[in-house]
């Protein structure tokens, strides 16, 4: 029972990463947009939702005690608007500007989380974030299971939405721009508009992931949203299969499993004094895994499927 409860807890966290990964897949996998500030969008979603839903707190502004669903929707809106702004500023320019800008924004947001104490609680972060099904908190098994079900439902919802969109003419135009921008433009596609849309959609999904994760864990701190998180999400997408939504989910669960297991192993093997340093072994392990995948199966475990318009009634063929 205890083990099952832990497994449910583990899977729930992995699925929150799966949502981030789905967001990155819209941006990178389908559109070729290089976002190296994933953690910033995730963190923004977490903080926005937390600020709206936590009970009133004396030491900071916010704490409106709003329903969780309101927090999630607001998080998506915030992530979408931030991505829209970044997109409007950079997506007309050379693609490397997007990378630099997203990296800068993630660093800046992290500093805001850390220092804007009246809004974010500073280095200590925010606690008492309402957890879904909080009434069940006493029974850890039931509590973890219903939260797992809820998170899985969010993953399924995002997955279905994206599959629907990516197999529509919109998704086809997105891929056309990714494949050859000049040809797509000559055939009437507006690359800037399509990229901005895809980037905003991805940003909204990442922020939703942040909100879902924050509410499941119940507290957040600025240290959760370091560049390490961006690295993890990228590793998940590359391992799972960039361009493939199922690959994104699979990669998230797999890489998170390896991350969690190696973390547990390190805390068993190394004495307490060494653990902080040994933790970097986790990064090495993920890095080695990435190298293996890139050498052995560069398109990821589940490669992109040649998706044909969903309206043609042709079955997708794995390439």
């Amino acid at each position: 029972m205890e083990l099952l409860a832990y497994a449910a807890f583990f899977l729930t966290i992995a699925l929150t990463y799966a949502i981030m990964c789905l967001g990155l897949n819209v941006q990178w996998g389908q559109t070729g947009l290089f976002n190296v500030g994933v953690a910033g969008f995730v963190g923004l979603g977490a903080y926005v939702s937390a600020a709206l839903t936590t009970p009133d707190a004396a030491e900071r502004i916010g704490g409106f005690g709003l329903p969780i669903a309101v927090g999630w929707i607001a998080a998506m809106a915030a992530g979408g608007v931030l991505a829209l702004a970044v997109g409007l500023l950079t997506l007309r320019m050379r693609s490397d500007y997007l990378a630099i800008t997203t990296f800068g924004i993630a660093v800046a947001l992290q500093l805001v989380f850390q220092n804007a104490e009246v809004l974010t609680g500073g280095a200590f972060g925010m606690a008492f974030i309402p957890r879904p099904f909080a009434g069940l908190q006493g029974q850890s098994f039931a509590f973890n299971m219903v939260n797992l079900a809820l998170t899985a439902a969010v993953v399924a919802g995002v997955y279905l939405l994206l599959e629907h969109l990516l197999r529509s003419p919109w998704g086809r135009a997105l891929r056309a721009v990714r494949e050859d921008e000049i040809a797509a433009q000559a055939l009437g596609k507006n690359p800037v508009l399509l990229r901005i849309q895809a980037f905003a959609l991805g940003g909204a999904i990442m922020a939703l992931a942040g909100a879902v994760q924050a509410h499941f864990i119940g507290f957040i701190a600025p240290g959760n949203y370091l560049p390490m998180m961006t690295f993890q999400v990228w590793a998940m997408l590359i391992v799972g299969g960039s361009g493939n939504n199922r690959g994104a989910v699979l990669g998230a669960v797999l890489v998170w499993a390896i991350w969690a297991l190696s973390g547990a192993a390190i805390s068993e093997i190394f004495p307490a004094a060494q653990q902080a340093r040994a933790a970097s072994l986790q990064i090495v392990i993920i890095g080695v895994m990435l190298c293996i995948i890139l050498l052995w199966r560069p398109q990821g475990i589940l490669p992109e499927v040649r998706s044909v318009s969903r309206h043609l009634g042709i079955r997708n063929k794995d390439s």
Binding site: W170, A176, E179, I182, A184, L187, K189, S309, H311
Partner: protein, 260 residues
């Protein structure tokens, strides 16, 4: 200046483009009749593809004016020009490599409701209806260019000649009134050549005007009543292919490009 007996559909006045200090296109004017096939010939580096890039909006003009059926497109974005009915192919084909041949063609349809995010989300039936109609048309076009048997293949597997045909199929899918064809037969195996010539005639008979860059003089002679000869960015001569190719200055620029 060049004229044809027909009412003009495409007009270009004094187009000029420099790269650094180098004038790749130097004061070129032309008029394309609504049902004409007009040839553009000239040695490599004459500026022919650059002229197409200017007409299609892939690169901005330094000076000059471009009109399509009376509408000024001089500064329009490439997407606006194809929507207005001015389509182009590329000398070096640019297929969407990881998309299927059918998807390549379908992506090129204009006015797709489902390409807008909101209708794609909330109006699936209307999008589906249009998709089915577009699929029928895309398959007809693939049939027309003899690529039907490859519709499920990723475009990356196509041969050089097949890529040229896919370029043609994609631009036809956009239902243009004018097509700029940049060396549609270059590198194509000779067996395909007759078919490509035949298809260009058929396209023209549908009422589409064609501006054709081509090195193959047999093809030019069979397709174009009139050609413009470009050399060093300028229009050197103009007239019937059989006549211009007799002119000493035209022969000279061609010979210059030849290895001695």
């Amino acid at each position: 200046m060049s004229t044809s007996s027909q009412p003009p559909i495409l007009t270009a006045d004094s187009l000029t483009k420099s790269f650094g200090g180098f004038r790749a296109v130097n004061d070129i004017s032309l008029t394309l009749g609504a049902r004409e096939i007009l040839g553009v010939i000239g040695p490599n580096g004459a500026g022919k593809s650059t002229l197409f890039n200017l007409l299609a909006g892939a690169i901005p003009l330094d000076a000059g004016r471009i009109g399509l059926d009376g509408v000024d497109l001089s500064h329009a974005r490439p997407e606006a020009r194809i929507r207005a009915g001015l389509g182009r192919t590329f000398q070096i084909p640019r297929p969407f490599a990881r998309m299927t041949v059918l998807e390549n063609v379908m992506a090129s349809a204009q006015g797709q409701r489902g390409e807008r995010l909101l209708p794609a989300l909330i109006a699936p039936r209307r999008v589906a209806e249009q998709e089915r109609a577009n699929a029928v048309r895309a398959r007809e076009i693939l049939d027309f260019v003899a690529l039907s048997h490859l519709e499920d293949q990723p475009a990356s597997v196509l041969s050089g000649g097949q890529r040229k045909l896919l370029e043609l199929a994609r631009v036809l899918m956009a239902e243009p009134r004018v097509i700029l064809l940049d060396e549609p037969a270059a590198g194509v195996n000779p067996a395909l050549l007759d078919m490509i010539i035949d298809r260009i005639i058929a396209i023209n008979q549908l009422g589409i005007a064609v501006l054709l860059i081509e090195h193959n003089m047999e093809m030019i002679a069979r397709l174009c009543p009139r050609v413009i000869v470009m050399a060093a960015g300028k229009a050197l001569a103009e007239g019937a292919p059989s006549e211009v190719t007799k002119r000493a200055d035209v022969i000279d620029v061609y010979l210059e490009g030849m290895p001695a």
